[in-house]
Symmetry: C2
Subunit: 288 residues, 2 copies
Amino acid sequence: MKVAFIGLGTMGYPMAGHLVAQGHDVTVYNRTTEKAARWASEHQGSYQETPALAAQDADIVFTCVGNDDDVRQVFNGEHGILKSVRAGTLLVDHTTASPDVAIEIAELAKQIDCRFIDAPVSGGEAGAVNGVLTVMIGGDAADFAKAEPVMRAYAKSMSLMGPVGNGQITKMANQICIAGVLQGLSEAVTLASQSGLDIDKMVDVLKHGAAGSWQMENRASTMNKREFDFGFAIDWMRKDLGICFDHAQKIGVELPLAKQVDAKYAELQQQGLNRCDTSVLIKQYDSE
Amino acid sequence: MKVAFIGLGTMGYPMAGHLVAQGHDVTVYNRTTEKAARWASEHQGSYQETPALAAQDADIVFTCVGNDDDVRQVFNGEHGILKSVRAGTLLVDHTTASPDVAIEIAELAKQIDCRFIDAPVSGGEAGAVNGVLTVMIGGDAADFAKAEPVMRAYAKSMSLMGPVGNGQITKMANQICIAGVLQGLSEAVTLASQSGLDIDKMVDVLKHGAAGSWQMENRASTMNKREFDFGFAIDWMRKDLGICFDHAQKIGVELPLAKQVDAKYAELQQQGLNRCDTSVLIKQYDSE
């Protein structure tokens, strides 16, 4: 299949590679052209200088860029995807963005007889490299059915969550849950370790019970050892939480805990910890 | 073995029953004597009118009462356990109480050549009834080794967490983690359901990822349906969080999230929801 992939960041770079490995004819675009050229030389693929050029012959176009404005730019900018794609092309956005931008682009796509689904992912860099991402999709069932076998190149789990925008809603819920789990874990690990408890032993006892969580199993020990040079950076978490706050305000839902966690992340960014994993939240206890 | 069991509440009543089923000679005491008499008639056991009388011939004495004051009363009150037990008796306190009271009773026990371990449990009423509790123990290894085969009557997992008091520290960490998970889940489920997402579908997608938790798997769906007539009552959660706050203040650790969750539980108690499961936290969104 002729595939375009727009955005070769931490996630997109390996994802596009998996598409080549699965036998697709892949053309990429990246804002920094050198990176696109490097990708093309490392893989059996080609690159173009604009999203429009990369997408013009594609059967399916994937995007994985930074934020709402980037999504608008690559789709609807002067050299955007919507300027060149053929009628019938399927457009799949892997960016974590707002449901509003998803609905907006889906509407524009419809006007030129193209289809759009929002498809944010979870699983982080490791998930992208190992091809085991989870994809949360908003859109029509027929479009999902068309995209699914292609996305299987880098996803182990793909779920249709409802109409366009619902992939993004699901991703928001994911990030808010993580914020809650990590703040509870920060408080619990600090209290316990300052009381002399062996944190690894504590995790072994608690992880299968009512307090158990993925973060407890995978992060409590490293939090206690102050190891954060892996995982999902707080820069990205803050971007995602910002999307949550905008949406929550729009529908009139308060997110008090998520807001407080975000404020703590803002302080940690100021301390230069912006590339650290979200579990760095425990360092709220380290300021003197 | 001759066993005494003091405190036939929601947890103690079935726990004492499991000890009989395992072949022990069990004598119980309960503040309300009628309940002790009922327990004795339902099981092959006997009851006494005071903790001292119940404990006097025992090889091992279990206690499972309400709070620190209750622990002090049943051990060190006028008719307390310490007034009658033989030298060499092992005392096991299953109450969720403060590490301070554990250390205090352990010291008093030592003065009469008895041994004490703190052994709070998790797993709730269902865990007690089904004999699959998790026990977190603070004390000496030799005492733990002696208690372990007896506790196996109602526990599936028992772990020695360090010296006396460390069982209680572990239980605190458990409750604080639960508070964090539940507040995150309350915010996420509310945002998602008010955005039209199918919560059961959302749980299926998120539960195995970085946002996953026991509470998500077991409570998100019932939270969304406003079902709370099971599980662990917020009355008890508030008691446990109070122990956390006292201890945290003593060692100088802030617990901002746990405090906020506790304040929300206090409001829900005022609304008469005090016997509801801790997942009732989501009803913070239902006040008009």
